[in-house]
Amino acid sequence: MQREKLLAVNDHFQLQYEEKQNCYVLLYPEGMVQLSFSAGEIMSLCDGTKSCEGIIGELTEKFSNDAIGSDVVEFLEEALSRDWIVYHEA
């Protein structure tokens, strides 16, 4: 993946935190994925202002953990391949 490019949630999907389900969910036509805690944290940072590098930086700081980089990349690659997120042209 291109680690310097800005990332955003695909406009055809809808990401939101659901109190009732206690997690982030990703909505698409007639369906829903419940995101795990870490997936939700990562997805919610795909807001069109941050790149993969930026997201890793932010999460490393938030959780004081240097070892999360490869997990973030792995998840973002998966999310890109599922069209959940797209590269955002600023």
């Binding site: 809808q14 939101q16 659901e18 009732k20 909505l27 698409y28 036509p29 007639e30």
Partner: protein, 383 residues
């Protein structure tokens, strides 16, 4: 999971609805022969104000519902449509408009997008004008649909093409796939219809043969294997199956429909059953969902008769569709007769056979035909 099911204590866990379908009106500019709407739809009046719809959406959202379908009849005919979409979006529903693409000026499309609409599910009957007119009894429908699809794409809306397959169009599957791709559809859903309402009335003219189905499936698979740009779903018809489909993921488990007159239903066709369904003008969505007799009626399995009651597949299909069981056996607790274990399975197989040799002409879904059917029913019941 083994042991006696009869001894298993009844558990009626009620989970909140996830999917709400608003049927804004039963009026429709098209008269599709395969429509699942009730034959007596002419009896249903539009009685929900904009405020009523708002309240239903708020209550359902508060319970945790996330998906909203806006349908009909034709939802474009409801003058409050844009406000309803906007409200739904403000409430953070994922919004799906289920439309024929006919019934409003094309300038409504950018307004729908601006109101926050996410997805348009556009019904397309055929890849040509003549067949479209034959199925819908509407001469301009094809052109209107093409223009609507283009406007959706031009305005950045996600487009899902829904095609209902019957004997009237099954030979066009290949062309329909090409056309959906050319229109830029994100998904194509090819649905073999369920035979309720008008479709059941017209079954002899609509049911395809098994050979036609196999060919349609082969063409769809060929597309799927060779090109990947558009996702294609193929919904198989249950008349050719030996097990029924799971009814709405379980009666009263996920799905809630509101009719144009405010009646709340566990599925679009549930009001064909001899049950009394509550109205959202009288009760809150929460009370209806959790406490009403109708929504609890087929929860759990204590309502089941044999062969379902002791069947080890009952957790899979919940005994199938209650509407189909009632329509074909006149007993809503029977197994769905699509199931080969059902004592009424022959009703399905003989319908299939009968349709093969029939030259019945389909009846269009319109107000006059609906009123005639209502009048005939009254006449027979008075005799």
């Amino acid at each position: 999971m083994t042991g006696s099911y009869i001894m298993k204590p009844e558990k009626k866990t009620v989970t909140p609805p996830l999917w709400i379908l608003l049927e804004l009106t039963h009026k429709c500019p098209l008269e599709c022969t395969y429509c699942y709407n009730q034959l007596d739809f002419a009896n249903t009046k539009d009685q929900m104000s904009k405020e009523d719809w708002f309240r239903v959406m708020e209550e359902a959202r508060a319970m945790g519902a996330v998906q909203l379908g806006i349908s009909g009849g034709e939802p474009l005919l409801n003058k409050d449509l844009l406000d309803i979409v906007k409200k739904a979006n403000d409430l953070k529903f994922y919004t799906n408009l289920i439309t024929s693409g006919v019934g409003a000026d094309i300038s409504i499309v950018p307004k729908l997008k601006a109101a926050g609409l996410k997805t348009v599910q556009l019904g397309i009957q055929s890849s040509d004008e003549h067949t479209t007119t034959l199925i819908t009894n509407n001469k301009t429908a094809f052109k209107d649909k093409m223009a609507f699809a283009k406007a959706c794409k031009d305005n950045g809306l996600q487009l899902i093409v829904n095609t209902c397959i019957t004997r009237q169009n099954i030979h066009q599957i290949g062309d329909i796939i090409e056309m959906a791709e050319w229109l830029g559809a994100n998904y194509l859903e090819i649905a073999n219809i369920q035979y309720y309402g008008w479709a059941l009335e017209n079954i002899n003219a609509l049911l395809p043969t098994r050979e036609q189905l196999d060919e349609a499936k082969a063409i769809t698979n060929h597309y799927r294997e060779n090109r990947k740009d558009m996702k294609v779903f193929f919904v198989v018809p249950d008349y050719f199956a030996t097990r029924p489909k799971a009814c709405m993921n379980g009666w009263g488990s996920t799905f809630l429909t509101i009719n144009p007159d405010g009646m709340a239903l566990p599925c679009n066709t549930a009001n064909t059953l001899p049950l009394t369904f509550p109205n959202v003008k009288e009760y809150s969505v929460e009370a209806i969902w959790n406490d009403s007799e109708a929504f609890n009626f087929f929860r759990g399995d204590s309502w089941m008769k044999e062969p379902c009651r002791t069947c080890d597949e009952k957790e899979k299909d919940f005994g199938g569709c209650r509407c189909q069981a009632y329509a074909l056996t006149k007993d809503m607790r029977e197994a769905d007769p699509v199931c080969s274990k059902s004592g009424f399975h022959h009703v399905v197989t003989s319908k299939v056979e009968e349709s093969l040799t029939s030259n019945q002409q389909p009846l269009y879904r319109n107000k006059i035909n609906s009123m005639n059917i209502i009048a005939n029913r009254l006449a027979t019941s008075c005799k």
